[in-house]
């Protein structure tokens, strides 16, 4: 499989090179179809974690016939271990707005909304100021698009796109049944292109540099670079933009503390990779996809505690509407507690793994569907720590 040598890049946070107004003017000179073709050609996939091809999403939304469409920037960055969107919105918000405006032009939307995580309210005042300036700059150029800011209230589930729409509409944030997908019926049941913060910045960068230079980085399945949130047992925690397609062992060499026992790739809902699998693990859509969270654990950490924390998190953050997720999370949590205490036999872990498998195929949304990722990868690789 194609792999890349770990490489730090600086496109996202580079402000010297990027004049967003110039990018915007240059891009708006193109037709909507040309822009969408560029984005498709670049191979850009959603940076929120699910990895849906951005250009296709835009194409579907554009193809819907509706006078009202929306662009939404998903800034409900709630995945444990992820903090890159906060940094992006703090340091280069204009690049995000620009991506939104380009998207609005491409799909035919006049309104764009940033759904900001409730815990990031401290960014609000500054963001609103910059949004106002940006909107006036658009108005000066007679470009009919406006960015608005909406605040979440702290529920993890509202990062799920359809729950986010419900939340914006003033409803209880719960994932909807799909289909219809957001491109057909999203916010206010209108065609909606919803993209992650980082994705929108890459849109701006692709429009500035052209798809070719974006494609020059990364692998066939994972084009470009990505922003990673590095945390845990590392001497150098922080935000790093890295080329996609690197093997995990190189990442651990770069960021680990020499005693790295496991890396949780993709946050609480991601996979836990133990030391023995570093060499075979590629960070990218062909290997382990990630929204950017890289949590590093060294040998002082109990993987039972790690899993217990994750399960507590999901038990609390499940919206509670669907059975597999609401009850399943509780059962997994109580289950490992019972095994640890000896109230259930170690073989009960097999029942729980079967339950996790059910949750993966039976839950209504990505939350319940992904709990099996950490559960199975931690139980399989650190079984002794769970039992004893």
């Amino acid at each position: 499989m194609e792999t890349k040598v770990i490489k730090k890049v600086d496109t996202i946070f580079d402000v010297v090179e990027c004049n967003y107004i110039q990018v915007l003017e240059k891009t708006l000179a193109k037709t909507a179809d040309e822009i969408i073709l560029d984005i498709i050609d670049s191979g850009l996939k959603g940076r929120g974690g699910a990895g849906f091809p951005t250009g296709l999403k835009w194409k579907f939304t554009k193809n819907e016939e509706n006078a009202v469409k929306y662009v939404i920037c998903n800034a409900d960055e709630g995945e444990p271990g992820t903090f890159k969107d906060r940094e992006i919105l703090d340091r280069v918000p204009e690049k995000v707005f620009t991506g939104m405006a380009i998207c609005g032009y491409a799909i035919g939307a006049k309104e764009g909304y940033i759904y900001l995580r409730g815990e990031y309210n401290f960014l609000k005042q500054d963001l609103q100021m910059k949004i106002d300036l940006f909107n006036s700059q658009l108005a000066d150029r007679d470009f009919d698009f406006k960015v608005f800011l909406r605040s979440g209230s702290g529920a993890y589930i509202c990062g799920e796109e359809s729950a986010l729409f419900d939340s914006m509409e003033g409803l209880r944030g719960e994932p909807r049944n799909k289909p219809p997908y957001p491109t057909v019926a999203g916010y206010n049941l209108k065609p909606t292109a919803i993209n992650n913060v980082e994705t929108l910045v890459y849109v701006t960068m692709i429009c500035r540099m052209g798809p070719e230079s974006f494609k020059a980085l990364g692998t066939k399945d994972s084009r470009g670079s990505k922003v990673f949130s590095v945390s845990g047992d590392t001497p150098t925690p922080g935000i790093y933009e890295l080329e996609l397609g690197m093997p995990l062992n190189q990442f651990v060499d770069e960021f680990g503390d020499g005693d790295t026992k496991a890396v949780q790739v993709g946050g609480a809902s991601g996979h836990c990779v133990p030391r023995k699998k570093y060499n075979d693990t590629i960070i990218g859509f062909e290997g382990i996809p990630t929204g950017g969270s890289m949590m590093i654990f060294n040998s002082t950490r109990s993987m039972y505690n790690v899993l217990h924390d994750y399960l507590e998190f999901f038990t609390e953050e499940s919206c509670g509407q669907c059975t597999p997720c609401r009850v399943g999370c509780q059962q997994l949590l109580k289950g490992i507690e019972a095994v640890k205490k000896g109230d259930k036999k170690p073989s009960y872990l097999e029942d729980l793994k079967k339950l996790a498998a059910t949750m993966k195929i039976a839950s209504k949304c990505g939350l319940g569907q992904s709990v099996s990722n950490p559960f199975n990868s931690i139980v399989d690789n650190f079984r002794e720590e769970i039992i004893y």
Binding site: N177, S318, Q321, P324, I361, A362, K364
Partner: protein, 597 residues
Amino acid sequence: MSKYLVNLKVNNIPVTVEEGTTILDAARKLNFHIPTLCYHEDLTVAGNCRVCLVEVAGSRSLAASCATPVSEGMEVLTNSKNVRSARKNVVELLLSEHNADCTKCFKNGHCELQTLSSEYQIGQHLFIDLVKTKDKIVDISSPSIAKDDSKCIRCQRCVRTCSELQAVGALAVINKGDHQRISTFLNKPLSEVVCTNCGQCINRCPTGALTERSYIEEVWDAINDPSKHVVVETAPAVRVALGEDLGFEAGERVTGKMVAALRHLGFDSILDTDFTADLTILEEGTELLTRLKKALVDKDEKVSLPMFTSCSPGWIKFIEHMFPEYLPNLSTCKSPQQMFGALAKTYYAQKKNINPKNMVCVSIMPCTAKKFEAGRPELRDSGYQDVDYVLTTRELAMMIKQAGIDFMKLEDMEYDSIMGESTGAAVIFGASGGVMEAALRTAYEIISGRDVPFTNLNIVPVRGMEGVKEAKVMLKDVKPEWGFLEGVEVSIAIAHGLANAKKVVESIKNGTANYHFVEIMGCPGGCIGGGGQPIPTSPEIRQKRADAIYAEDEGLPLRKSHENPEVQYLYKEFLGEPLGHRSHDLLHTHYKPRKRY
């Protein structure tokens, strides 16, 4: 617009259905049964219980068949290994958060979760019991509805019922994750919120989480107390639904068997709410004509029109909370149940020489709101609580079973007299539009001296299941004393289900509609779809019950309320005239505004 047709395969059998059809419906077309819990025909689709999962070729996850539309070339498996195993897991999970105290549950034998766990042979619990002790405290604050959170499976059918069908919103989902539950505004007890006690949530609860407050034991105690004379009254809609809980198909009329069963149970007098339904027509009809006269002749601007019917206690509490400014528009007539209670403990007691102190008045109702109504402080005009206990159709069926009565084999019996006689006009009170039809039959004849101008007295435009029905009746060639009504076109409307009631009141409020008389029933279909009726309910079942109501009407010798000889006798012997002094004291009342929260 004609819909596209979609071809798919369910369990390898090809089927063609209209675009937009769900997988569930497509499978049902082929007679493949897929279990459901959160799905209900009367409600929007939730797709949250996940027991209707099916496998769709090419999809990584299973699909909720109730919520997934078919697509061309789709290949669906409803009973694959994956499906069975996931479905079983889901039911096991539901059981782990369910207080499976089945043997003493009112829903034992009718519980959808119980049926499902039996189908999937789920015995000892695989998973850890998650039922919280605090959830076992049942909310019995309401005299109508008991809410037991420990039995709740969070399907949200009650929540959707309360908001979609009833526009009440007393029940809502609160919290998330393991704390998610169905609750009320600020977690207040049911008795302190906008709940109208309609019981539609009970009709749609798949488990025993929502049930009626049961008064069976109190009624047994009264029957067994030799010092008490226990009078029972039966509402119109009970006779066309009771059979469903006792072995009959929906739509079976069991009036005679019901009377026989009540006699076997030991009630002392078996009387009919239909009697006071006829009486209601005379009182309410006179009230309407009086209001019209005030408006048309006296030009009294204070007279409140349209006049709303006041038979449905769910509707009464709804208007008290939601539209208190329209309380003057309510007919002052008590509901037939309450007219009955007031007369039982005065007129009937006198005639039969019974001390009303020793009387117990029990009513059998298709309704849970009637339980609340019976306890209203406004309704004690006999000097006692007019109606002591209200049992639902379901509770009566339970008593009949407890008594070991073979209901299906009972010989028909007749109601006792007096207050047991009724007409077809009273029976149709049980279906939406029935009160209107009964009122028109009588009022039209009083005004014109002629039968209503509809074949065989059947006023078809006011019948049927449409949410809001409207009609106009032109009054011509009226009797001289009603001359002020000559040429008046009386405009009427009928709504059933409180969401439709809300629509009608709002259209009156914003001036887009203008009526003289409006019939409103709190429950979908009227009383035949009441919150105390046998479970399950569906549009089809309600239609069958309504058909039975109209068949019962057609089969009766008298079909106009004013022709009821016992009602005529009552006026002659006791009341004097409609809206007379005694009527005013015993049969009429006023209601007060309530807050929304």
